[in-house]
Subunit: 584 residues, 2 copies
Amino acid sequence: MNNKKQEIIKHSTAHILATAVLEMFPEAKFGTGPATEEGFYYDFDLPRTLIPEDLPLLEEKMRAVIKADHSFEKEEISTENATKHFEKANQTYKLEIIKDLQNEGNKNVTIYKTGNFVDLCSGPHIDSTGEINSQSFKLTKISGAYWRANEKNKQMQRIYGVVFENKKELEEYLENQEKAKERDHRKLGKELDLFCFSDLIGPGLPLFTPKGTIIKDELQKHIEEVCRKYGFQKVSAPSLAKVELFEISGHAKKFGDELFHVTSKKEHDFVLKPVQCPHHTQIYASKTRSYRDLPIRYMESDKQYRAEKTGEVGGLSRVYAITVEDGHSFCTANQVKDEIKNMINIIKDFYGALGLWGNHWVSLSVRDYAHPEKYIGDEKDWNQCEKILEEISDEMKLGAKRCEGEAALYGPKLDFMFKDALGKEIQIPTVQIDFATPKRFNLEYTNEKGEKIPPVMVHRAILGSYERFLVLLIEHFAGAFPLWLSPVQVKIIPISEKFEDYAKEVEQKLLENNIRVEMSFESESLGKRIAEAEKQKIPYMLVVGEKECEAKTVAIRKRGEKKQEVLPLEEFAEKIKKEIEGKK
Amino acid sequence: MNNKKQEIIKHSTAHILATAVLEMFPEAKFGTGPATEEGFYYDFDLPRTLIPEDLPLLEEKMRAVIKADHSFEKEEISTENATKHFEKANQTYKLEIIKDLQNEGNKNVTIYKTGNFVDLCSGPHIDSTGEINSQSFKLTKISGAYWRANEKNKQMQRIYGVVFENKKELEEYLENQEKAKERDHRKLGKELDLFCFSDLIGPGLPLFTPKGTIIKDELQKHIEEVCRKYGFQKVSAPSLAKVELFEISGHAKKFGDELFHVTSKKEHDFVLKPVQCPHHTQIYASKTRSYRDLPIRYMESDKQYRAEKTGEVGGLSRVYAITVEDGHSFCTANQVKDEIKNMINIIKDFYGALGLWGNHWVSLSVRDYAHPEKYIGDEKDWNQCEKILEEISDEMKLGAKRCEGEAALYGPKLDFMFKDALGKEIQIPTVQIDFATPKRFNLEYTNEKGEKIPPVMVHRAILGSYERFLVLLIEHFAGAFPLWLSPVQVKIIPISEKFEDYAKEVEQKLLENNIRVEMSFESESLGKRIAEAEKQKIPYMLVVGEKECEAKTVAIRKRGEKKQEVLPLEEFAEKIKKEIEGKK
C-alpha cells in the first residue's frame, strides 16, 4: 500500500469513527481528525468523559457503518452556506475553522457526508465506507488534547486508532506494540533500577541510580577512549553564560522560548547553555593559534538545557537537561575532509560494536533553499560544504540521500539513521561542517604565509545524548545489555548458607579483576534467586555448591542459554575479563 | 606578640596613616580604619584618585608622624559635642556614625587625637606614635570600597597596609607575598594553560582547557577509586529542581539570595541546586529499603550553584558553579560510628598521599548555642551527634578542638584543616552527622522488628570542590604537580631533526603504556626547548640524539634535578608506569 493510499484510508476511518461517535453522542461537537504516521485520531467535545470500555462499543458501531457501505459524498458550498449548516448543527469548532478560511480569502469550502455525519474537510477520501476491512482497524487510546494545541483553549477528548489493509497486518502491528511495551525504557528502567524520578524535583529531571550511572559511565569511558585515539582532547566548560554568547552564535534566536534564563536576587542574568559549541570556541580563542597547532579537537560530555513544554517531557526521551557527548574540530580548509572521514570512522567503529552498522542509511542534510533566512553564513561557503560532503559520501560509499531543509543552523551535515531491534528508526550520529561560527567569534590562526585567517569548525556527535542513547540501548537490547555495559556482570548464588564462604572467595577473585559482582544470599529459595537474576538480565550467574567448593570451580549459567558450564574459577575470571575488554 | 597587642598596633598605624592623609589632603573625609587579619586599612573620600606613587609619599609622612612621637589622647565627650566638632570639620561619614550611636541610646562617645588628626574611635591604642618601628610597616594596596559596604553608597578609596614589630618580620612577610604571587593560581593557570575565561561567558565561569581537564579527571578517577573501595556507589542527579525540594531541606532559607532561579518563557520555575544532599535523598526514597540494604553510600561529582556577589568572583577561588565531590551514607544509628571512621580513613589516605596529613588540626564544629534558630533538627539528636563525634575524636586520636558556631545546618561535624607549602590554612574535608534531613524527607527503612524508621545520613567531603582543590594543588606545588596529576608527564626532545623518527618510536612506546607525552620538534634551539619544558614543569624530559637512538635508550632529566640518567627505553617505560600507578 503506498503512502498516499494509506493516508486516505486512515483519514476515512477517522470519519467513520466520527460517524460512530455522533450516533453514541448526538450532542457531540467535532474538532479535527487527521491521519498520523501511525494511524489516525479525532478530537471530540463530549457530554461525558470516555472510559476504555467505550472503545469496543464504538468499534462495533464503526463496523455497522462499514457494513452499511455509506458513500463519501463530497460537496463544494459557499462559506456562508457552510456557516449556516454548522450553526444549525451547533458545531462551534467547525465554525471557527470556517471563519479562518474566510479570513484567508476563501469563498467556498468542501464538505464530506457519510451517513448522518457531515464534516468540513478537504479530503480526499475512499469512495464508500465498505472499502475498509472491518477486521483490520482498532481504536487504541483515549487522551486529552487542547483545541488547536493551545493550553488556553478547552481540553477535548482524543480517540486514537490504527487501520490496515488486512487483519494480518493489524495483528502484526498489535504484537509489535506488545513487544515495544515490554521493552519500554520507562518500564525496564524501573524494573532494572536504572533511573528514577521524584515529585519534589519534577518530571523531565531524571535521577540516575548506581546501576544507571554505571551504564552512563561505561559509555562515556568507551567513547572517550575511542575519540582520544582520533586526537580528541577533553575540555570542561561551565553551564552558564551571558546571553551575548548565544546571540553571537545565533542560538539565542534559534532556541528562543526554549532558553532557560538564570537570575538571582543579586541581579545576575545568565542563560543555561542549550548547546556546547560557543563555549568551545572560547577555549580555542584563549590562545594564539598557528597552522602547526591544527587540527585542535575538543570533546566534552556535559549537560545542555532546553525548556521543553511541560506536557511533553517524559521518561528519558524528552528531558530538560540532555547530557551530550559533543565534539568539535577546529581545522584548516584543507584538513576538513580528513577530519570528517575520521569522524565517520569513529561512528562506524562505535555502532559496529553494537551491531547496528549495516542496517542504516545516511542523509546529506542540506538547506531549505526557499528559506535562506533560517540559516547563518555565506551562500558560497554553504555550496562548498555541500560539495565536500557529497565527495565524502562518494569516496566512503555512504550513498547519502539528499534531504532538503534538514541542515544545521550553520551548515550542511551527514546524519546517520539506524534501525533498532523492533525496526524503529533512530537518528543520532551526525557530522556537520561550519564555516560561519568561527567567523562570528573572530576565531583565527596564523597560516603558513603569516596571515591571520579563520579556521573551519567541524561538529560531530557520536552517541548524541546519554539519555536518548540509554533509551535506544534499553529498548534495543530489551534490558539485556552487552556484558561490558551490564551494571551487574556476575551474580553469585550459593546453593545454601554452607557455601557462602566459598561464594565470597569467588566474589573476591572477580572484584580483583574489576568485574562487577553481586551476591545473592540465602533468604529466598534457590529457584527464586535464579529467577530474580534472570529477571534482572544479569549476563552470568554462578551457582556454587559442594562440588564447586571442593574443586574450586564455578557452575556458569550464561544469560539466554539453558546449558550450564563448569569451569575452574581462575579460568572463568580470565575468560570474562577478556570478554569485557573485547566489548563483546 | 600576642593577638590583642597586634591588633592595637595595626589599628594605631591606621590612625597614623589617616594623620598622614590629612596632611596631604586637608579636605579629606574619613570613613573607618580597622585592623584586619593581615594588617589594617583606612577608607577615605578624597579630592582626587590616588595613584601607586602616592604610597611612598604617605609612608614618608607616616614616618614623620612616628618621629614626632604624638601621644594618642583619648577623650570621652557627649554625642552633641562630637556632632558639633565633626560638623565643623565637615566629616559627614563620622556624623553618620554618631547619629547611629545616638539612635542606639549612647549619650557619650570617645575620640582619639594624634597630632592634628581627631578620630571618632573606641580604641584602645598605643600610648604614642613613637612606639611604632618606622622600618616595620608598609602601605600595600589602594582599592575602591563602598561606604558601609553598600553598593548604593559612595565609593571611597581604601589604603591597605601591614605593620610588624620589627623590620625582619616585615621583610619575611614581603618575601612570602612575593612567593605567593609566583604561585598564584591565576598566574600559573595561564602559564601552564590549565583554564581560561571569556568576556562573552563572564567572570566566575572558568573554562577548563585540555590540560586542566586532565588534572580534574585524574583527581576524580582517583577519589572515586578510593571511595569505591569503601563501598561508595556513584549516582547522577540533575542540576535543576523545584524550589520545594530545598524548602523541605532548609537550604532555600539558608542560601536565600544565593539561589539561582531558572525560568523560561514557557513558565518553568526551577532553582539550580546549591547542594547535592536533597537530590540524593530522592534516589534513596525511590525504593523500599530494609536494614539489610544499609549502609547505602552515594557519591557524585557534580556542579553546585551559588549566586556569589558579582564583585567577589575571581580565578577559581570563587566561582558561580563549584564542582563538588560529594558523598552521603544512609545508615542505621548503630552504623554511624563505623561510617564516620571509614570516611576519616579515606581523608587520611587521600591527604596522606599528597603529603598533607600530619601538619593538620581537626575542628569539632558544634552549634552556636545562643542561636538555635540557625539550625534544623531536635536538641536531643544534636547532643547525641556531638557525643558520637567526641568519642570518635578520642578513639582515633584526632584531638579535635571544639569550635562553637561552626556546625552545619543539620548537625555537628568534624572539619580537617591543612597547611599548604606557604603555611596558608586550608579547610576542605569534613564529615557531618545528620539526623534531621532524613526525617524532613520522610526517608525510612524497615528494621529487624519490621518497623519503618528513618535512617541516619552522614555527609562527607574529601577533596571538596575541584575548583578550590585545584587552587590548593597549583599553589601548594607551585605548578610542579605530582607525576600522576601532570597534564604532560614526559616531554620528548630530539636533539635534531635526524632523530625525530626515533623520538616517535619513544612516543609510541610511552603512549602504549598510557603515559601522557608531548613531542618538542626542532623549530627552536635545543636549549630553548629544554627551558620551555622546564617552565611548563614537566616531570620528565627525554633528550634523544645519536647515542640514544643507537642504543635504544633515553637520556632522562627529572624535574628539579641537575643529574641526567640514561636508561633503556623499555626500562624507563616500566619505571614511570609504576611511579604513576603508585601515585608518587
